[in-house]
């Protein structure tokens, strides 16, 4: 597979995604954001259980949350700084 055929296949996949999005009610796309997160969180949970088979359900949740926080910190980078409300 050469670069041109990969590019062409990627474009065909993207066109399919856009057409599907155009045919989907906007409200459904909005709630999909929540549901996709629930699904990816479930997959993360499975991964943690596999890696730590002796972990309790509570421990699994803690590890999942720690991993999500790491992703979030990486995405935020140094975009945010502590803010103090000015005193009147």
């Amino acid at each position: 597979m050469n670069a041109e055929s990969i590019r062409s296949e990627a474009e065909a996949i993207y066109i399919e995604r856009v057409l599907r999005a155009q045919a989907t009610p906007p409200g459904q796309k909005l709630v999909e954001g929540f549901r996709l997160f629930e699904r990816s969180r479930g997959l993360m949970r499975d991964g943690v259980r596999h890696q730590f088979p002796d972990a309790s359900p509570e421990q699994v949740e803690v590890i999942v949350q720690q991993r999500l926080d790491i992703v979030r910190e990486m995405q935020d980078g140094d975009l945010y700084r502590p803010y103090q409300e000015p005193t009147p």
């Binding site: 155009q22 906007p26 409200g27 796309k29 909005l30 954001g33 629930e38 979030r72 945010y80 803010y83």
Partner: protein, 208 residues
């Protein structure tokens, strides 16, 4: 509780408290573009008279309102994070700033009934999602914002007010980034989109 339920509770609380709001960030780009997973929901609120303790009281113990606010350096707004431990989800409140586009985006917001939530939601316009996300793409360098912009433009095919978008992108210095993103959209989705010639395709004048 799920992230979805926590967002509806926050919307109901803001409505009860009389706080004007809109659902921004990736949920607004999901509405106009292509859905993607996100672990937080961003709200912009007009926060006059709203105290964090009052909000905490209204939301109840399932929500944790972080008393430490943060200043966001991409567009210059103040953020408060609300954690919903049971849902593993975060709700982010961005205070409406005095920035000219932030103000106009908020003025142009629209209420839609989302049957999947069985609730109204207030959202920015598709044009304002493009303009705002371009600022994040340029000022914060996040690839997901570029993708969101591309997806909204492709899905909204021909429905966007380009004069409005160009007015703001010229003012924000994000027009080049916009044109670059548009060129990545398959040709069938970018009919009727004004686009200058691609500088990388322009040949140098011959010396002879």
């Amino acid at each position: 509780m799920t992230g979805e339920e926590s967002a509806v509770i926050l919307i109901e609380s803001l409505e009860t408290m009389g706080v004007p709001y809109m659902l921004a960030g990736s949920f607004s780009s999901n509405f106009y573009g292509i859905s993607r997973s996100t672990q937080d929901a961003d709200f912009v609120i007009e926060s006059r008279g709203v105290t964090l303790s009052g909000l905490q009281q209204r939301l109840g113990p399932a929500f944790h309102v972080d008393p430490q606010m943060s200043f966001e350096t991409a567009t210059g707004t103040v953020r408060t994070i609300i954690t919903v431990p049971e849902a593993g989800f975060k709700l982010e409140l961005f205070r409406l700033s005095n920035d000219a586009h932030d103000q106009e985006r908020f003025r142009r917001r629209r209420t839609v009934f989302v049957s999947q939530l069985n609730h109204n939601a207030v959202l920015p316009s598709a044009e304002d999602v493009v303009v705002f996300k371009l600022r994040w793409a340029v000022n914060a360098g996040r690839s997901k914002d570029r993708e969101d912009v591309r997806d909204v433009i492709a899905v909204q095919q021909g429905l966007l007010d380009w004069d409005y978008i160009h007015r703001w992108t010229d003012e924000h210095g994000t027009r080049d980034c916009l044109d670059e993103i548009i060129r990545l959209i398959p040709a069938k989705f970018r009919t009727n989109i004004p686009l200058p010639p691609d500088p990388s395709q322009t040949s140098e004048p011959s010396a002879s």
